[in-house]
Amino acid sequence: MQKFLRKSGPAYLFLTPWFLGFFCLALGPILASLYLSFTKYDIINPPVWQGLANYEFMFCCDRRFKQAFSVTFAFVFLSVPLKLAFALGVAMVLDKGIRAIGWYRALFYLPSILGGSIAVAILWRQLFDYNGVVNSFLRIFGIEGEYWLSDPNYSLYTIVLLAIWQFGSPMLIFLAGLRAIPQDLYEAAEIDAAGKWRQFFSITIPMLAPVIFFNLVLQMIEAFKSFTHAFVISGGNGAPLDSLLFITLYLYQEAFSYFRMGYASALAWVLLLIIAVFTAVAFWTSKYWVHYESDR
């Protein structure tokens, strides 16, 4: 016990604010939603127990759930790798020791501070509107742009782009990771006549693996939970043609537009399970590609 306290005590002490919030504010609603997911609950009348009916319906018959599922997955698998690659690229450029690096860091981090804000999503809508900035710019070169937001073939990409643009926090973490790689490794590689690419794949990537893994897990969870951008850009209902119907958006609509709190709770728990499974898979694969300093 004494050893545990000495070793982990400070960590838990620092976590206290989070624990307080979790136990006092979050835990109750979480458990309540688990119960509600087995009921039919229209908010005004008391919930009625109906066993697994919500879950059965979701997987047997609900077309919009299938749509929401595929939209969410497309978003996660597109936005997370692209965002991480972009963040790493920018971090490596900044790592070169440019003048006024503090400014650049702040500048590149700025979009992430604006993060989930409504204003950014509205701005995005203005940019990609048919008569918006993007198409006006294209017109200078005689290119007729598309209906980026109202055409379901493009709408998801605009949101992926928005997600990538907010690369600030993984970039900062990458930057810290790059700084921690000992320079002598590169010097040794140079003496052995290894090219830049070779250095990148044989030194940078393996040395950064723990940081990449950390960013991957964090960004993946974030992407699954993404809500605000799709909500604002689609006008709250996943339009056009449900092409922006993220699971989060669907469950919001079921709960607050159609009075199906029970079903919405079931959707929320399925989303939680999906995130848990993907995180577990990431942890499992990490054994094969992530090596920590202390393991050696």
């Binding site: 006008g235 607050f256 009075f259």
Partner: protein, 431 residues
């Protein structure tokens, strides 16, 4: 999205400062706190806040505060408040969705207050009837409303089109719409079209169903529209679109369920937008060009499809803390001339005869046009249908989604029509 105007910001700050200066308890004992929640637009919000000030001045023992959001955010926010058990005392409701809330017990009947705090003597019978469900009065109508095509007179005139000269605002057909829209498209700069594309406009389609002799919902709570009606209706608009009278499909797809600020007539992208008559005042407030009023178009058979209905109700909620004070306020909202004069016709034609008469000398041009419109459509409207089944709201959303696919030509019209019927019936059976 509503804007926080300077005036409202000042009011809120002042109210907050006053509340903290007085100290909570003394304040609560002497004054009944009533919250009134509505969906609005800048013009409606301005008028309603002004009316609340008048009421508070006249009733020192009641303190009404107003809360407002845009229509799109209104019902989700209300639902959250229902879940939390903190609905405002007085809320605004439309004819379409109110029945669902009554059925679920969120709205209280008003019968016990009639004759006490609520005076119905001046109110039209039809308005009382519209607020009565299962023999009990649940809602006070705050204005009559009807479908209205709003057109930009300047753009129409540029194409040589004026009311009475080959254009009958109270009896135009879809063929007229096509002819006029194409002429207006040609007479206006590139990128401006004669009319909105109503493929995904549920209100217009619901008129069309009645014009074709059908009803939107059958008595057994199934969908009354048929595949044939949907296909015919969508083809009418495709025809107008293909002739250049309406914007390209993808452009219209982006405007399905848009807020007022994005409507075709307001942005100037089109010359005609199809909405509710009570919104004429709000639209005119945003436009320099004069706005004209016409009925929704009809088929050559001229079977009436539109009807006059209460635009909005005010209702008393289950969560009210002081029903007496709340109903006093509701009563004043429909009966007190000082207040109805400020509200004007912005929410529709008042249901109180006296309030209506008091308004006539004060009308603005747009308001006078609304009154004229109601005179013009008399005898050309259909009977008010029974309250919609629960799930009607979701059926409407489903329609808009499927029709967006039609605008984008994602599938054949026949398939889309069948798909809508199936989905709608499923929604109605699920509720």
């Amino acid at each position: 999205m509503t804007q926080l105007t300077r005036r409202r910001f000042m009011q809120t700050t002042a109210a907050g400062a006053a509340a903290s200066a007085l100290g909570g308890r003394a304040f609560a004992q002497d004054t009944a706190q009533i919250r009134h929640f509505w969906w609005g637009n800048p013009e409606r919000d301005r008028r309603t806040f002004a009316v609340i000030d008048i009421f508070n001045e006249a009733h020192p023992n009641i303190q009404v505060t107003g809360e407002t959001v845009g229509f799109g955010d209104y019902f989700p926010k209300l639902t959250t408040q229902i879940a939390g058990g903190n609905m405002p005392d007085v809320i605004q409701h439309g004819y379409g969705a109110i029945f669902e809330y009554i059925e679920r017990g969120a709205i209280l009947p008003l019968d016990e207050y009639v004759g006490n705090t609520i005076d119905l003597s001046g109110i039209d019978d039809s308005a009382i009837q519209a607020g009565t469900f299962d023999g009990q009065l649940y809602a006070l109508s705050i204005g009559a409303n009807a479908h209205m095509a709003m057109y930009n007179k300047a753009m129409y005139e540029a194409a040589g089109i004026t009311a009475g000269d080959g254009f009958d605002p109270y009896g135009w057909t879809y063929d007229d719409v096509k002819r006029i829209a194409v002429a207006v498209s040609e007479a206006t700069p590139d990128g401006v079209y004669g009319t909105d594309d109503n493929t995904a406009n549920w209100q217009n389609f619901s008129d069309f169903v009645v014009q074709r002799g059908g009803q939107l919902y059958n008595e057994d709570d199934t969908i009354g529209a048929t595949v044939e009606m949907l296909v015919e209706y969508w083809n009418i608009w495709k025809d107008i679109r293909d002739a250049g009278g309406a914007p390209p499909g993808p452009a219209s797809a982006g405007l399905v369920s848009a807020d007022m600020a994005d409507w075709g007539i307001v942005t100037g992208q089109t010359a005609t937008t199809y909405q509710w008559s009570n919104q004429l005042v709000g639209v005119q407030a945003l436009l320099q060009d004069p706005v004209g009023a016409a009925m929704f178009p009809n088929t050559a058979d001229m079977v009436p499809g539109s009807y006059v209905q209460p635009s909005q109700f005010i209702c008393l909620t289950r969560d009210t803390s002081n029903a007496e004070a709340a109903t006093t306020y509701m009563n004043a909202f429909v009966n007190m001339t000082e207040m109805t004069n400020v509200l004007g016709l912005e929410r529709g034609i008042p249901a109180n005869t006296e309030a209506r008469n008091a308004l006539i000398p004060t009308l603005t041009e747009a308001e006078a046009a609304s009154v004229e419109y109601f005179d013009g459509i008399r005898g050309k409207t259909a009977e008010l249908p029974p309250p919609f089944p629960s799930g009607a709201n979701e059926v409407e959303e489903t329609y808009k989604r499927v029709a967006t696919g039609v605008l984008l030509e994602q599938s054949s019209m026949e398939d889309a029509a069948q798909d809508f019927i199936d989905q709608a019936n499923f929604v109605l059976s699920r509720n």
